[in-house]
């Protein structure tokens, strides 16, 4: 098995008296899609925020290629190759879809301080932006303002922007949230395509999607890791059924499909 790209060691996050993440340790490896499951409030988004640097850590460590990056700021982690998307669409509304991706690609441009050069005239950046749009299936709407795109397209743009920064690690927070069936299907395809070249952490409520793409699944409850392993192990785990699903109607992701989504999770929360 390859060395982990990104790893956490006993990562803990407290908000006042509330412990959102408690001693979470997990490894993300290249070529592996690592899905994070758990009911709302289990601390999944918090964990992503800790990994991306959006939130400061209370205790524990984050390692990137064995280097301690616990204290690095979000932009520094991004430059190392850790890209993230947001659960709530977080794009540049007034700009075109292309400019959203171009800006993302620009962040990797050497010599950003050349203030008399034309931002639009850097071939490498343009290519990266176009490739990201193409990969996310947005080439047709490249020149539309991001705010005017459909919700699904905005979600795709969210991913395209991350791709434009050419990351090694992808932290994706509910990329399918609020998508229609067709859009969701395309997104799953995209995730499958990205899997082999990246280390991916995927937070998603859509069980079909998770079991379709995940190589490893970690289930979190109340900020703690309940169980971690290949999909088959998780599907079979009584503890997961007991604690997370709260019933024993059958394995999640089985023929029940979307109907078997955990109670109270809100499903694809819009």
């Amino acid at each position: 098995m390859s060395e982990p790209l990104l790893a956490t060691r006993a990562l803990t996050k407290r908000f006042g008296g509330l412990t959102a993440n408690s001693a979470v340790s997990l490894d993300l490896r290249k070529g592996q899609v690592h899905a994070l499951l758990g009911p709302n409030g289990a601390g999944k988004s918090t964990l992503i925020n800790l990994l991306s640097g959006d939130l400061p850590v209370s205790s524990g460590r984050i390692l990137y290629r064995d280097r301690d990056i616990t204290r690095l700021g979000p932009h520094q982690r991004s430059r190392l190759g850790i890209g993230r998307s947001y659960q709530k669409t977080n794009i540049f509304g007034p700009f075109t879809a292309y400019e959203n991706c171009r800006l993302a690609a620009q962040s990797r441009q050497p010599r950003p301080w050349r203030i008399f050069s034309d931002a639009q005239a850097v071939p490498a950046v343009r290519r990266a932006a176009e490739a990201a749009l193409e990969a996310a299936g947005l080439a047709a709407v490249a020149d539309q303002p991001a705010a005017s795109l459909s919700h699904g397209a905005q979600r795709q743009l969210e991913i395209a922007m991350v791709l434009a920064t050419a990351p090694e690690v992808l932290l994706l927070d509910e990329p399918l949230a609020g998508m229609g069936a067709d859009e969701a299907h395309r997104m799953v395809e995209l995730l499958q395509k990205l899997g082999p070249d990246h280390a991916m952490l995927l937070v998603e409520h859509d069980m079909d999607a998770v079991f379709a793409v995940a190589d490893v699944i970690t289930v979190m409850v109340n900020g703690q890791v309940l169980e971690s392993g290949p999909p088959a192990q998780i599907r079979a785990s009584p503890a997961v059924r007991q604690a997370y699903l709260g019933d024993d109607d059958g394995p999640p992701g089985a023929e029940g499909g979307a109907a078997a989504r955990p109670a109270g999770s809100g499903g694809r929360s819009a």
């Binding site: 979000p74 977080n90 540049f92 700009f95 620009q106 301080w113």
Partner: protein, 320 residues
Amino acid sequence: MNRKRLTLALSLLLLAAVPLAGSAYYTELVTKVMILAIFAMSLDLLVGYTGLVSLGHAASYGIGAYTLALAAPRYDPASLWVTLAEAVLAAGLASLAVGFFVVRVKGVYFLMVTLAFAQMFHFLFHDTDLGRGSDGISISFRPDASVRGFTPFDLGNSVHAYYFVLVVLLLTYAFLRLLLRSPLGHALRGIKSNEHRMQSLGFPVLRYKLASFTIAGALGGLAGYLSAAQFGFVNPELFGWHQSGNVLLMLILGGLGSLTGGVAGAFVFVAMQELFQALTIHWQLPFGLAIILLVVFLPGGLASLPARLRPPRPEGPFHV
């Protein structure tokens, strides 16, 4: 685009023709307005393009002005080119230092902190021996434009000074246009639109904001320098918060984030001021009321007026 070029060219022609009217008073008045326009454009970089609402931009203006006052020899004219560079440098460096503190805070906090720092500079020149107190310093001679014995123009001549300021205005505009076209300019707009996302995309946002703050400050210093050169006099009120408030007002009057808006705003502002002053010595009363009415009923500034009067377009950009 053609239409825009045409209007810019016509405006320019109009501006270039002002001294031909022959009134020294109006020539100097429009010179003053153009200096304010440079000042407003410099603030636009900060407010309109980076999204940092500063209520302390007068600090850079004052520093630019005081640099000339302190650098000028008492009994000889100072060199225009040397002191101009010094003023821009001083204002830029001071902004860099202040920026180091203020870019860490956001929103209203930023507004309050910039105001407080401007007040600090006010006190620095008001209270210490640096600036000769509330009376200010008079600059006995206008800066001298000569280079190695050749004198291209004389700032003591109000027509020469007018065209000099006009050229500086155009250069400032061109500089900012280029800057906004560059990767830095695009990044600043990104920060204004969504600072958080810029950060997670890997932009060192604080450094970019600091760059914007410093450049805006240096250009504000340029405007302050020109004003000191025009009037030959500086005092601590240059740092006053009215100065900061007024330039923000110009920007909002003319429309944020368009550079030319700052220029138009400076003209509208001075015209309003002159009109109200001609009406009553309590001119701030109608002026203040006008501002309140404007912001209550016309949130987008005067620039939004024609768009509001026009019937809404059928195909709005936002369809979901």
